[in-house]
Amino acid sequence: MLTVTTVTLLLVMALALSRAFVGPTVFDRILAANMFGTKTVLLIAVIGFLFGRPEFLDIAMVYALINFIGVIGMLRLIEYLEDENSSSQEEDA
């Protein structure tokens, strides 16, 4: 069953990856990146059990944290960029 889960996770990661390529907006990409991160956490946890070396869980934990930090950071900066864009547009108008 662990193997099945691993394969499914890889599949879902591929799906998320294709969403990240297709895009259309930045937010789709962030969503895909976030989803990808969650899947990675799960994948590493499952792989750890599959190989019988649960030390891998530390890495999964780092992912869970870093993923959150990354998403928050991206959002903040995109917000900043959008603000700048809108203010420059107002100046143009």
Binding site: M1, L2, V4, T5, T8, L9, L11, V12, L15, A16, S18, R19, T25, F27, D28, I30, L31, A32, N34, M35, T38, K39, V41, L42, A45, V46, F49, P54, L57, D58, A60, M61, A64, L65, N67, F68, V71, I72, L75, I78, E79, E82
Partner: protein, 104 residues
């Protein structure tokens, strides 16, 4: 022993199914918000199920504690980042598709 493994297998299967449906939803749905709906909900519940299954396999040890911490982190961060994402998208002026635009 048998029941534990059976239960964890069932949980893993359910979690995998949820994640898969979420993945397909993210690929197929028409706009950011519905995609977020697909991803956010299935992510959280699917991750919970899979981690619970792993907990059943782990038994009482440090590993269990670590799994619980991962679960807690995911439970906190998942909805939060979805919320932040939705808010940022709304603020940036991405409008959700409503009835008429969907039919187009």
């Amino acid at each position: 022993m048998e029941t534990y493994e059976l239960l964890s297998a069932v949980l893993l299967a359910a979690g995998s199914f949820l994640l898969l449906s979420g993945g397909i939803g993210v690929l197929r749905f028409p706009d950011v918000y519905s995609r977020m709906h697909a991803a956010g909900i299935t992510d959280t519940l699917g991750a919970c199920l899979i981690l619970l299954a792993l907990m059943l396999l782990a038994g009482f040890s440090l590993v269990l504690l670590k799994l619980m911490m991962i679960l807690a982190f995911l439970l906190i961060t998942g909805p939060t980042s979805s919320h932040a994402l939705g808010k940022a998208a709304w603020k940036a002026g991405v409008k959700p598709l409503t009835g008429k635009s969907l039919q187009r």
